[in-house]
Amino acid sequence: MSRSDEREEAFTLFAETASASLLRAAYVLLGTREEAEDAVQLTLLRTLRRWDRAKNAPAAYSRAVLVNICREHWRHGARHPEVTGLAADAGTLAVVTPFTDAVDRRRVLVGALRRLPVVQREVLVCRYLLDATVAETAAALSLPEGTVKSAASRGLGQLRGLLSADEKEARRGHQRRG
């Protein structure tokens, strides 16, 4: 077996293990399945290109790459905002079709996460979706460990607040309809 074959085999093993969690993390960070798939494909490609460097800790390497790709994506999105037909019609659809409502409710936690400041969102995704330790999260996000701890704590606190407020709002709406 050639060196290239060995490298690809090792990479395939890693990709099969890690791609699901990377995809879920990208989905939470970016918001759509399509963007998440693009980001994960690029993450794995960059990891493979640098496999000699990444092979000792490919999970840590790919985490850092994914975060950078998501940041690049946000920066690009901020400079090139797109208004799609679906987004423009989203309010109408939410009222008219119960399916949209059902999908939104299923993603209540993800939706609340996306309302958090970027650093808190990244920290919570790394810690609780990618199973990174505080030190690994700090390395992936280029942040001090203290900042990671405080962002995780504040993020969870804010999430509790957001979810409680959403729940109260939903109850009020339910009572009005009832």
């Binding site: 699901a20 990377l22 989905y27 290109r49 979706l129 729940e167």
Partner: protein, 203 residues
């Protein structure tokens, strides 16, 4: 939903996204892309399609404005290259070819030195629009980026053959790639690499 502990949050979050699953062929797709990319790097020199845009910049050497003491910034899309005060912005003497697919180009010159920056249109490796990298062009790391250094005179199809070029891979939406190409004449390849590593930023 109430969150009482970190573990509860972890479980709830994972339950919500449990239906987001990766394709079985993801690893194979990535490996295929990687192989295409390697072929691209190894392809023979001669068809670097950046020529047209660079030709537009070539005339900049003589078209200069008044020098200023402050650092000069070249902007292309979201990328900024800050140059020392001895450089000054140069106005393009002729527009970049309309036929060129490459985005905005900018340039600065001082004491016979010329630095230019441009961004290619997004492309998928190996497809139309994928600019070839000449055989043997060394791969370098420029700050956080991966790049190839193309020494001046490497390709006869580049009108400004004296220009050294750094071709930096940048990610673009939808899994595509864009090349940020920074060319310089009057600077050594090492000086160009150091200049870009220190002074290139993205916003």
């Amino acid at each position: 939903m109430a969150i009482s502990a970190e573990d509860e949050f972890r479980l709830a979050l994972r339950a919500e996204v449990s239906d987001v699953v990766a394709s079985d062929s993801l690893a194979a797709t990535v490996i295929a892309r990687h192989r295409r990319s390697r072929r691209r790097r190894r392809r023979a020199a001669g068809s670097l399609t950046l020529g047209t845009a660079i030709a537009g910049i070539g005339v900049l050497l003589g078209a200069t404005g008044a020098p200023g003491p402050r650092p000069v910034q070249l902007h292309v899309s979201s990328y900024t290259l800050t140059l020392p005060g001895r450089y000054h912005l140069a106005r393009p003497a002729q527009p970049i070819s309309a036929a060129s697919q490459h985005k905005v180009a900018a340039a600065a010159a001082a004491d016979g030195r010329c630095v230019s920056m441009q961004l290619t249109a997004p492309f998928s490796p190996g497809t139309t629009g994928d600019p070839d990298i000449p055989r043997g062009a060394p791969e370098v790391t420029v700050g956080p980026y991966h790049a190839w250094l193309i020494p001046g005179g490497c390709s006869t199809r580049i009108p400004l053959s004296r220009q050294h070029q750094l071709v930096i891979e940048m990610s673009a939406p939808h899994g595509q790639i864009q090349d940020l190409v920074i060319g310089a004449s009057g600077l050594s390849p090492a000086a160009l690499t150091a200049l870009v590593a220190r002074n290139l930023s993205s916003s």
